[in-house]
Symmetry: C2
Subunit: 181 residues, 2 copies
């Protein structure tokens, strides 16, 4: 669990990234920014910050922020009942993001895997996204991503989002939203 | 039908709006910007410019641009077979947009209805969206919208988009994509 001070620090960092990306938020939205440490307490290397604009039972849009070298760890969005898993498109708005998906492993990947977690990263097909570039992930495929040296702001367009049902390769991860209280 | 010159002029205007909104596009995307005059040949007052980022059979994201006082005329997204009509969220990124939906009519609306087309506008519940503000439209509900005095840049997050099946109140409208050839 992260402290209130750390939560507020990361919320402010996130607001600064949105400013740099030219993304305007309402005051209400700024307070709703989620800081997801995924239960690991290692935000400097693992986790992400996000704001959900809309999430109905049909579609969803979010903005994601990664600080430099921060990693959203490997996971997939499983099918739920007879419904296909979440389909998502990542569009880089600011900075750079290294995205890894299933497929031919890239030699000498540019991202740095968080120390001691090498076992929890299994897909290494590298896709580099710069501002204006995007990639659409098929449902239920393993992926992870890391911000570049300036961090990254990423728009995510997807089907309905049910973060708590995501399956992470690292069994120590708990995908519980962190709320500022 | 609009001329090649007019098409290119509106594409360039649209690129300028994206620049003002801090939205970065690839060169390929700039060439894909759609100029939709809806078959009326009156782009100064009626139509819109748009770029589709992604449109699968499950979800869609676009950026829309309206020049000052340009109107996307009244329409709805019907149910198709047993599938609900398109659900869409409009998020204002730059400028101002006046959105009109079904419900209690607003007295003295701020938008100016295109001359001679008064019969094609029937819903007047006014929603003003400034940068950072958004509104989610239920499927199959009538709506229209107009850019304010500086125009508007609007992100649209939605279920699958099938523009050619939209039902416009104005029977003279033809929703055919205009391609630069």
């Amino acid at each position: 669990m992260i402290s209130k001070e750390q939560f507020e620090k990361y919320q402010q960092i996130t607001i600064n990234y949105f400013n740099k990306a030219g993304i305007v938020l309402t005051e209400e939205e700024k307070k709703r920014i989620e800081v997801a440490d995924l239960g690991l307490g290692q935000l400097e290397t693992t986790g992400l910050q996000l704001l959900t604009y809309v999430n109905t039972d049909r579609c969803c849009a979010k903005e994601l922020v990664l600080i430099p070298y921060q990693t959203c760890p490997e996971h997939r969005h499983p099918n739920i009942g007879d419904r296909s898993g979440k389909e998502e498109t990542f569009r880089c708005r600011f900075g750079k993001v290294y995205l890894y998906v299933e497929g031919e492993p890239t030699q000498n990947i540019k991202a740095v895997i968080p120390k001691g977690k090498e076992h929890a990263y299994t897909v290494f097909n590298e896709i580099e996204l710069n501002p204006g570039e995007q990639y659409t992930l098929a449902p239920n495929t393993l992926h992870w991503f890391q911000g570049g040296e300036e961090g990254a702001v990423i728009s995510e367009f997807s089907t309905a989002s049910t973060d708590e049902l995501d399956i992470f390769t690292d069994s120590e991860i708990q995908r519980i939203p962190v709320i500022n209280e």
